[in-house]
């Protein structure tokens, strides 16, 4: 009885506050996030992001192939820029797909729709890495790597063998870590979570009126949000209840950042904001939605930043011990994460934490002269400090 009365009381209070003023809808903070990322309309799930899952799976196969010296440059490029029907992958569904990785690299609406020239530069740089991996690294698979010569190098104590180019760069790491920003974070933060996409054309009107896409159970705005979600969790066994560690990209590195006590809570902040933001779309509360976007942008942007600093410091430490294979590996990861920083997004702004030009300076510095073979501890510290300061954490917090 009390339950019903309370319900009625709340109901009438809400009715009054809603109906008295059209604008109040945006000010009402009461949007309830569900326990898990599940949303239903007329008994059907409204969540779908199969295109994102497809791209993550393509990227997983591509990443593995970059370490398979039986592949040719053509094979690798086919996986990067897959054409519908080509037999680039072991998974027939991927081969049948009309989607590919390359076309969504540096392709967000906010950053690149009027910046195709820079987008092409970023993609071309990745093309050149793909090419070099096949033509320079694969061909020197059994050669001992030294400064100026591509080849292999084993980590101390019978550790992993690393394959690097003449500058000491593991190109597969540069590519994989660039995809975390250039494909995944860029599409999430600067495309699907952007008002330019969420609110495009009649999206608001249609979402307000519950008008779903033809033959689908979701409104366009709901779907755009889900596509952002899919880039992060699309390879999970049950994406509605993510456990992380489900791919080799953002999903896994969000977990790694979160497992550092200095950054504990990062993963749940992102998940909670994605749930609440999606619930806010259902509730037509776009203020709550956009507040969640800011939270997601801030926390996801932290991932490449923390990992870049972590690996710069790890590289410095390994170099000091003389374990060059481990050092080059760490610095190669750092190099890719640094490239990813240009795709981050400062919350409530239209800019990344570091611009394309700033990131290019970092990368050029690392590749100067002998490249990673000759980089100094001072350079690594300076770079670490600059990145950490911009994001508001300390080098020590990221490095431990």
């Amino acid at each position: 009885m009390r339950k019903i009365l309370l319900g009625i009381a709340i109901t009438s209070a809400l009715f009054t506050s809603c109906s008295s003023d059209d604008d109040s809808i945006d000010q009402n903070p009461q949007v309830e996030a569900p326990l898990t990322y599940k949303f239903i309309r007329d008994g059907k799930s409204t969540v779908d992001f199969n295109g994102q899952t497809t791209r993550i799976k393509m990227a997983m196969e591509f990443r593995s192939a970059l370490k398979d010296n039986t592949k040719s440059a053509t094979d690798l490029h086919g996986m990067f820029a897959h054409v519908e029907g080509d037999n680039d992958f072991s998974d027939a569904d991927l081969n049948a797909s009309g989607k590919n990785i390359r076309s969504k690299v540096a392709a967000s609406k906010d950053y690149f729709s009027a910046n195709t020239t820079v987008s092409n530069q970023i993609k071309s740089l990745m093309d050149s890495w793909v090419e070099e991996q096949a033509t320079t690294v694969f061909t020197n698979w059994e050669t001992m790597a030294t400064s100026g010569t591509a080849g292999q190098l084993q980590q101390v104590g019978g550790g992993t063998v690393r394959y690097v180019n003449g500058k000491g760069l593991e190109l597969d790491q540069a590519i994989a870590k660039t995809l975390i920003g250039g494909l995944i974070a860029d599409q999430m933060l600067n495309h699907y979570l952007s008002t330019s996409v969420l609110d495009e054309a009649s999206n608001i009107q249609n979402n307000n009126n519950g008008i779903v896409e033809e033959g689908k159970s979701y409104t366009t705005m709901e779907h755009k949000w889900d596509e952002a979600y899919g880039y992060l969790y699309g390879n999970e066994v049950d994406p509605s209840v993510p456990v992380l560690g489900a791919d080799s990209f953002l999903n896994t590195y969000l977990k790694q950042v979160d497992s550092d006590p200095d950054f504990a809570g990062t993963a749940s902040a992102v998940y909670d904001a994605l749930k609440l933001g999606r619930a806010a779309i259902v509730a037509k509360n776009y203020e709550v939605r956009d507040a969640q976007v800011a939270i997601i942008r801030e926390n996801i942007s932290k991932v490449p930043a923390v990992r870049a600093v972590y690996y710069l410091q790890a590289g410095k430490a390994k170099m000091a011990t003389g374990d060059m294979a481990s050092a080059l590996h760490a610095l190669s990861e750092a190099y890719g994460f640094i490239n990813s920083l240009q795709f981050t997004r400062e919350p409530d702004s239209s800019s990344p934490y570091f611009t394309h030009e700033e990131v290019t300076v970092f990368m050029d510095t690392l590749m100067e002269g002998q490249g990673l073979w000759g980089v100094t501890p001072e350079t690594l510290d300076d770079m670490s400090e600059t990145i950490a300061a911009k994001f508001g954490f300390t080098v020590a917090e990221a490095a431990n």
Binding site: G7, N28, E32, G51, A114, N120, A201, V282, A283, K284
Partner: protein
């Protein structure tokens, strides 16, 4: 217990509020006192109709010179037809964006005038069999200016070879018929559009000044932005520069077989767009009510600057970047495609101002979405 209350709470919230905000962006009636009819009048009387009245006779002249070429195929008649082709093609750049009224009713007039690249095999099969129907969508990409471009410049390797196709070739009559059918189709459709504007549609256009999805200004604004995005930005620059594909497509430029006018045509189109934006009369330098004056009336600013000034500055920047290109975009793409994407980027920067800021200020809904995404 608490969970249940929360559930009721959120459910009620959703239901209670769902009806309270259905106005959305645009389509809900005019919200300002700007004289939209004056804008439409200026567009119709000083820009649209004069542009058509310039284009129509130029197309008729081209028709005459093609008839002369067909009657007497030689180097001289070929040159004359080519000269009139370019004159008419440039005039066309001023009317392609007006996809409204009869132009729209003819199942998209521009589909019959300027779809490129042409499909050569459709033309050649038509020539050799006499079996084709220019009224069907299959032949959208086998007629109009691009088909003339192919027939007058690209059908053989050199001018003598082209003349031979229309004189001594086994299919000479087929070529003559196809060429004649293409120009007749263009002329016939164009006359219908012009006649409609001058015998009634003008008043209908001008008087439809309300803000509804089907009123003149709403449709015209959409047509204008769509043309800017598709006809100008994408077709002339973006597609050949490879912005929408994995690699550049140098054979997809406008006037590909002519090989030296893609820049001239693009600049002409940009001028036409900017003149419409500013309400500048087709003949002369007088300006009237326009998107520009509407934005100024609404005092739309971005970062302390008048939006109309920002848009004009962006058009001007795009023009500068296009002027830096090779007169033949195909050549530019091959030698340095970066300059093409730089021009594309400059054009694209105006899209957001037009498609988001301007339409929001006018309280008009954009009725199309980019075909992109998963």
């Amino acid at each position: 217990m608490i969970k249940n209350i929360a559930l009721v709470f959120s459910l009620v919230f959703m239901m209670g509020c769902s009806s309270s905000d259905d106005s959305g962006a645009g389509g809900g009636g005019a919200t300002d006192d700007f004289d939209r009819s004056a804008l439409l009048t200026n567009l119709a009387d000083n820009i649209i109709i004069p542009s058509y009245q310039d284009f129509g006779p130029k197309l008729t002249t081209l028709k005459g010179s093609i008839e002369s070429f067909v009657a007497t195929p030689n180097q001289s008649t070929l040159q004359t037809a080519r000269r009139h082709w370019l004159i008419a093609y440039k005039a066309w750049q001023h009317v392609e964006m007006f996809n409204i009224g009869k132009a729209e009713a003819l199942n998209e007039y521009h589909f019959f005038m300027n779809i490129y690249p042409v499909t050569i095999s459709d033309i050649e099969t038509g020539v050799s069999t006499g079996n084709y129907d220019l009224n069907t969508p299959n032949y959208h990409d086998a007629q109009g200016f691009p088909a003339l471009d192919y027939l007058l410049y690209g059908v053989a390797d050199d001018d003598a070879g082209i003349v031979a196709k229309f004189s001594s070739d086994a299919n000479a009559q087929g070529y003559k018929d196809y060429l004649t059918d293409v120009i007749n189709q263009m002329d016939n459709l164009t006359q219908q559009v012009i006649t409609d504007w001058t015998t009634g549609y003008r008043d209908q256009f001008v008087n439809s000044s309300k803000n509804t999805a089907t009123s003149s200004l709403n449709k015209f604004v959409n047509d204008f932005i769509f043309y800017y995005e598709k006809g100008l930005r994408a077709n002339k620059i973006g597609i050949p520069a490879g912005v929408f594909s994995t690699t550049p497509l140098a054979d997809k430029v406008e006037g590909y077989y002519n090989g030296e006018v893609s820049k001239e045509l693009a600049l002409e189109a940009l001028n036409a767009v900017q003149d419409v934006f500013n309400g500048k009369a087709f003949s002369g330098s007088a300006t009237g009510a326009s998107f520009k004056t509407y934005l100024e009336y609404l005092k739309v600013d971005r970062n302390g600057q008048n939006l109309s000034a920002i848009i004009n500055a962006q058009f001007n920047e795009a023009r500068t970047k296009i002027q830096e290109l090779n007169s033949n975009f195909s050549q530019q793409i091959i030698t340095d495609n970066t300059k093409m994407t730089v021009a594309y980027d400059a054009l694209q920067r105006a899209v957001v101002y037009l498609k988001v800021d301007m339409v929001q200020a006018f309280n008009i809904s954009v009725d199309y979405v980019d075909a992109d995404g998963d």
